[in-house]
Symmetry: C2
Subunit: 497 residues, 2 copies
C-alpha cells in the first residue's frame, strides 16, 4: 500500500506553552530539545510570534530577536514558522504598511521561513500587506482561515475566503481552530470543498484540544486531503493546548497515511519537556476538557475574564445573564469569531450591557468594532448599535481598510525609539518599541541584565514540597521543645493556634 506522507508542525516552542502556561517558557528551557526537533522530520517548527514576543519583553527580559536567531542557529534544517496577526503584527493595533513591511523583512532576515498570517475578523484586507511583504522576501506566506461557528458561517463562506487568500498570493492555507470548535464533519467538508474548488493547494490544519474531539477532526481533515497538521509533543499537550504528536503518529499507523517522524527523536523531545513542564505549573489552568463552548461559543479564557470583571463589580452572580448576552452582542457585531481581541471586546461589552443596561455605555473598543475600525465581519452590523457607537465615540463609521487611515509612522517610531535608554539602534528595536510602546522602554533599560527564567527550578520545587510536608508535620499536634535561652533551659510546647 502506498502511503501519503502527512506533514507535522510541532508547536511545543510557541503555541503549546502559550496555551498551557501563559507563554512563560524561557529560551533556556527549549535549547536542549532543538537538535531533536530539528532532526525529527517535522514539516515545520512553530517557535515564534503569537504572544511570545510580548511575553519575552514583558516577563522574561529576553530579546525576542535573539531568541529567533538562536532557533535559526540550533535548527538549521527546519522550516521555522511564526504566527502573525496580519496588520496588527504581534501588537494590539493596526500598523501603517511600512511598519508591517519592516517587520516581515527583519523576521525573514533573522531566520523566519513560514509566516502564518491571520486576522481575528477574517478580513482579507487586514492580511493583504503582510502576505505581500512575505512574498517579497521569498519566504512562505500562509493565508489563514479562523474557524468559528455561527448562523452565517458556512462551508461555502470558508471556501470563498480560501479563494481570496489564494488570490492574495498565499502559498498554502491554514485552517486555524483556536477554540477547538472544529468538529470532524465540518473539517472534512471544508477541506474537501477547498481541494475540489482550488485543486491541490497545501492545507495546514491547526486545532486546539480543549473540547476533546479535535484529533478526530484531524483524521477527517487528513482523509479529506489536508497536507500538514499541527500537534504538540505529548508532554506539552492536551487541555487548552493541542493534540499529542505521538498520538497523531499512532492514529495514522496502518492507514493510507504516515508522518515519517523519527520515533526516537520524539521520545527525547517528550522526555525533555516532561522535565520542563512542572517548572511552569503555577501558570497552568486546570482545564482538561470543556465542551461547553459548542453551546455558549464562549472560550474558556473569555469566560474567566468576564467572571473577573463581574466579581470586581460585586456582581459575580450575574454570569448567566452575561453568558446569555454574549451571543446577542456577537450577532449585533456581525458574528466575529471570538478570539483575541474580538473575544475580549465582545465579552466586556456583554458585561457592560448587563450591569449598566443594553448599550447604555459602550467601551471604546466595542464602538470601534461597530464602526469598522477593526475591519469587516462576515455579517452586517446592527445599524441601531452603529448609531449609538457613532454618537458615543463621536467618530464616523468606515468601510475602507482600517490601515488606509494611518499616516506613515516609521520615521517617528525610529526617532522615538532612539531616545530610549538601552536601545541598540537596530530596526529590530524600533519594531519592539512600535509594537509595545509601554513595555519596550523598561525592557531596553534592563536588557543587559539578561534573561529571567520565571519557571521554578527543581530545587525550588523540592523546597516547596518539603515546606508543604513540614507544614503537614507541624499541624499534627503539640510538640515539646527544650529551649535554652540566656543559659536557662525551658520546656516549651508548640501547637498550632
Amino acid at each position: 500500500m502506498s502511503q501519503r506522507t502527512i506533514g507535522v508542525t510541532e508547536v511545543a516552542l510557541r503555541d503549546a506553552h502559550q496555551s498551557l502556561m501563559a507563554t512563560r517558557m524561557s529560551l533556556e528551557d527549549m535549547v536542549d530539545a532543538c537538535e531533536d526537533i530539528d532532526q525529527a522530520g517535522y514539516w515545520s517548527v512553530e517557535c515564534w510570534g503569537g504572544a511570545t514576543y510580548d511575553a519575552c519583553i514583558r516577563f522574561l527580559n529576553e530579546d525576542p530577536w535573539v531568541r529567533l536567531r538562536k532557533f535559526r542557529e540550533l535548527m538549521p534544517n527546519s522550516r521555522l514558522q511564526m504566527l502573525l496577526r496580519g496588520q496588527n503584527l504581534l501588537g494590539y493595533r493596526h500598523y501603517e504598511d511600512m511598519v508591517v513591511e519592516k517587520f516581515v523583512e527583519k523576521s525573514a532576515e533573522n531566520g523566519m521561513d513560514v509566516f502564518r498570517v491571520f486576522d481575528a475578523l477574517n478580513d482579507p484586507r487586514n492580511m493583504e500587506r503582510a502576505m505581500a511583504a512575505v512574498a517579497a522576501t521569498g519566504k512562505h506566506a500562509q493565508g489563514t482561515i479562523c474557524y468559528t461557528i455561527s448562523p452565517l458561517h458556512t462551508v461555502e463562506g470558508y471556501v470563498k475566503l480560501a479563494g481570496q487568500l489564494l488570490d492574495m498570493g498565499a502559498q498554502s492555507l491554514a485552517l486555524k481552530d483556536m477554540a477547538a470548535l472544529l468538529q470532524p464533519q465540518p473539517a472534512y467538508d471544508i477541506i474537501s470543498a477547498i481541494k475540489q474548488t482550488y485543486g491541490d493547494v497545501q492545507i495546514n490544519v491547526h486545532c486546539h484540544a480543549t473540547t476533546g474531539v479535535t484529533l478526530v477532526s484531524l483524521m477527517k481533515a487528513i482523509e479529506a486531503g489536508a497536507d500538514v497538521v499541527d500537534t504538540a509533543i505529548s508532554s506539552m499537550s492536551l487541555g487548552p493546548g493541542h493534540n499529542p504528536t505521538e498520538s497523531l503518529v499512532a492514529m495514522l499507523e496502518g492507514t493510507p497515511f504516515t508522518t515519517n517522524l523519527d520515533h526516537d527523536r520524539l521520545i527525547r523531545i517528550r522526555d525533555h519537556f516532561a522535565k520542563v513542564r512542572p517548572k511552569y505549573a503555577q501558570f497552568e489552568s486546570a482545564t482538561l476538557v470543556d465542551t461547553d463552548i459548542f453551546q455558549s461559543q464562549i472560550p474558556g479564557g473569555m469566560l474567566s475574564n468576564m467572571e473577573n470583571q463581574l466579581k470586581a463589580q460585586g456582581a459575580g452572580d450575574r454570569i448567566k445573564e452575561v453568558m446569555a448576552e454574549v451571543p446577542l452582542v456577537k450577532a449585533d457585531a456581525g458574528h466575529p469569531p471570538l478570539v483575541t481581541p474580538s473575544s475580549q471586546i465582545v465579552g466586556t461589552q456583554a458585561v457592560f450591557n448587563v450591569l449598566m443596561g443594553k448599550y447604555k455605555v459602550l467601551t471604546g473598543e466595542f464602538a470601534d468594532l461597530m464602526l469598522g475600525y477593526y475591519g469587516e465581519c462576515i455579517g452586517p452590523r446592527n445599524p441601531e448599535v452603529v448609531e449609538i457607537a457613532r454618537a458615543q465615540a463621536k467618530k464616523e463609521p468606515i468601510t475602507c481598510r482600517p490601515a488606509d487611515l494611518l499616516e506613515p509612522e516609521w520615521d517617528r517610531l525610529v526617532s522615538e525609539a532612539s531616545k530610549l535608554e538601552g536601545n541598540d539602534g537596530t530596526p529590530e528595536d524600533v519594531l519592539t518599541y512600535a509594537m509595545f510602546p509601554s513595555v519596550a522602554p523598561g525592557f531596553f533599560a534592563t536588557r543587559a541584565d539578561g534573561p529571567k527564567n520565571v519557571g521554578k527550578t527543581a530545587e525550588q520545587l523540592a523546597a516547596e514540597s518539603q515546606s508543604k510536608q513540614d507544614a503537614a508535620g507541624a499541624v499534627k499536634g503539640p510538640i515539646k521543645y527544650r529551649v535554652t535561652l540566656g543559659g536557662r533551659e525551658h520546656s516549651v510546647t508548640v501547637e498550632r493556634a
Copy 2:
C-alpha cells in the same frame, strides 16, 4: 439525512473511577447523579463488577450488594451493566461452576441486566459457564474480546474468537481495549470483518484513553458498524480513564451518526462529578497521555509495579533490562494479552529473570500459566520453559478447561461463611466470602458500622490548602514574635535555617 443512533455506555460509576482513582469512589458520592444518568438516554450504565466489589469490602466498608440494589432503585429505566471475569467472577482464581452460577443468579436477582464476560487470556472455555448462566437468567450475555497486539494477533483471529463467543450464545460482543492499544485502522478492520462474517451482531467497543488516540478509534469503529461505545462523562474522563462522553456527542454531530443523549442531563452529570473528583485526588496518577505502550506493550500500571519490585531489591537501575525481558517472557507464554492478572504474572517473572537469571526461579503463578492452569493463549508455550515449570512446581501441564479440575465447593463455602462473625446467612455473603476469603471476615465484622468514605471533604481539602498556604508564608522570610516566658517578654525572630 437519516442518522443511525449509536448507543453509549456510561462508565463513570465503574471503570472511570476504577481507572482514575483506584476504585475508591463511595456510593454516597454517586447517588445524586443517578437520576440524571437514568434519564440521559444511555444504552447502559456500567456500575458494578470489575474491581468495585473488592474495593467496596476492602476499603469502603460497603456491601457491594447493597450498592447494586441501590443502583437498581435509583435507575429504574436503565440497563445496569457489570464487568465479569468469566470463571474468575470478581476474584482472583477459578471457581467451580456452581459458584459461577450462583453468582450470576444473585447478580441478576439483585438487578443486573448486562453481563460483560471476559477472560484475560481470551480462552472461550473460561467464559462459557458464566455466559450460559447469564442466558439461564434471561439477562443479556455479552461475550468479550480482549484486544492486544502481538505477532500472532490478527484480524482473522479476532473474527474467529467472535464466532466462538456467538456460538456460546453471546447476545452481543464487546471489543475491550483496556490498554488503549486499539488504533483507528485495526478498529475499523476488526469491526468490519466481524460484521461481514456474522451479520448484524451488536458490537460494543470499550477503549481507554491513555494513548490519546482512541476517540479516533471509536469514530472508525462506528463507521465500520459498531453499535455501542463506552465513554465517561468529561469530569471523570481522560488519562488512564476513558474518552469524554460530551466529546463523543460533539464528534458525531453532522455525521450520519447520533447519540441522542440529553445534553442538559449530561451537563448535570458532569457538574456533579466535577465536584466529586477532587475529593479523590490522592488516588489519581499523573498520567495524561502515554504512547510508549505501543512499543513496549507494557501498560502503565504494570511498569510501576515492576519498578517497585526492582527498587525493593535495590535494583532500580535495571528497569530497562526488565522492559527488554517482558516481550520475551510474553512470547514464551504464548502471547497472552497483558492485563490483570497476566500482566502481573509476566512482569514479575521478567523481574525474576533479570535479577536471578533466566527462569532460574519461577513464580508459582508463572508456572501455573506455563502449565495451562489459567487456560490457553493464542500461541504455543515454549516447551523448554514448560519443562522447567513442571520440574519446579511438581505439577503436570493440563489441556482441559482449568475449572474442570475443581471439586464442588459451594456447600463448603456456605458452611465456612456461616461461621464468620457478622455473616448474614445470605447466598450473597457466601459469594463475598468465596471471592475474598481473607477480606470478607473483617468486612462482615465491621459491616454494621456503615460505609466509610475515603475521599476528602471540601472542609478537609480547604484545611490542607490553608496549611500549605501557611507553610508557604512561613518560609518567606524572618518573622518576629513576642514570646512571653516566665512572665518576661522576649523578642524572637524566626527564619528558615
